[in-house]
Symmetry: C2
Subunit: 187 residues, 2 copies
DNA sequence: TGCAGTATGTACCAATTAGTATATACTGTA
DNA sequence: TACAGTATATACTAATTGGTACATACTGCA
């Protein structure tokens, strides 16, 4: 039996998909082992504190991805408009044009809300603030910048809910296009 | 021991709160009995098919509430603008100004998605279509009506996600106010 | 080649899971 | 007052839960 050797990074990505599909409480260890192909041995090797640590790692991983690929671009003081464009591109790609949900959003509404509220709170605050800053730098007034940043993040999350609910990913791409139009400073 | 006699309607409301707090898979029968005060005897008396039936009943109940208090007003051909105003009032009240989440949205993102996709799909489609119809009757073009209806429902759901995530209900009330401004035909 | 660290499989455990069976009590009605 | 329908409590079960223990294998490096 050829042992498939994995490393923690791969494990996190695989486990993330399980949580995405079944939620936190809905993902039993049996489900996780089956769907990832990782046995309990590997799982508890990578995540000694079990399921809770798996979820923490997954959420941290998503946060980290957004920090690097979205928030960093928004904070780039030199090219705010370009940063906002990059945000829309990254978001569209990350959520597979509406076929993928936001794990942070799902955990916020579902079980594990209180268990992970720290990461969740930080994720959405950071996003909104970084976007607001970028809008400010493109010429928005402070009030308009905050308002529009909130509108965009709200729109993205709501679109993911509706896309999943109506099984129509197009809701997501349509919403992204509409939100872009709210920011005339980008092409 | 004075037996607290309940009826199915009370049971549904009580169980709904549990699902709202812990999600579907996160609500064990133990949690449900404790939090509702209803024993297994009562629970399986009202819902012979167990947990699945409890969730179905709860989702149907919410759908029914929206049908009566929101969608019906939107369909009232005589006063479309008034119907839209009533929708905003009802939504603000129902979600406790952002302190309460949308069970349909939570179930859509979390576990039970496939188990309840029928009700979920119907709820959001009905809402969007009823609102689109009302907007049409206030003078929107067909395209603008559909677009704006989607924007409003997306905004409401997204605002609930963010309000919960950032533990700031104000996100919700702010969003409702902003969405109203997108519809000049209402006051 | 040996050895330490990393990765994995599997047998096991106590606790909890959803669900069942059954006895009982309360209620309205004839 | 008898009786049928409704509501409830409790003891039980088989399966599953998250987690542990431990033996084993593969890896790179000295």
């Amino acid at each position: 039996m050829p042992r498939e050797v994995a490393e923690r990074g791969d494990a996190i990505a695989a486990v993330a998909e399980v949580f995405r599909e079944h939620g936190y409480a809905g993902s039993s260890l049996a489900t996780i082992t089956q769907q990832t192909g990782l046995g309990k041995g590997s799982l508890y090797h990578f995540f000694p504190n079990g399921k809770q640590e798996m979820a923490e790692a997954v959420l941290e991983d998503v946060s980290h991805w957004f920090e690097e690929n979205v928030f960093a671009a928004l904070r780039d003081a030199g090219a705010p408009a370009r940063g906002i464009e990059r945000m829309f591109e990254a978001v569209e790609a990350y959520f597979h044009s509406g076929e993928r949900i936001c794990l942070l959003g799902a955990f916020a509404l579902g079980d594990g809300q209180e268990a992970f509220e720290g990461v969740i709170h930080r994720y959405f605050s950071t996003w909104t603030e970084a976007l607001s800053g970028a809008l400010l730098r493109t010429g928005f007034t402070p009030t308009k910048a905050e308002e529009t940043a909130e509108e965009v993040v709200v729109g993205i999350q709501g679109a993911l809910v509706l896309a999943r609910s109506r099984q129509d990913p197009q809701v997501f791409t349509r919403t992204l296009a509409r939100l872009k139009r709210r920011i005339p400073t980008i092409q």
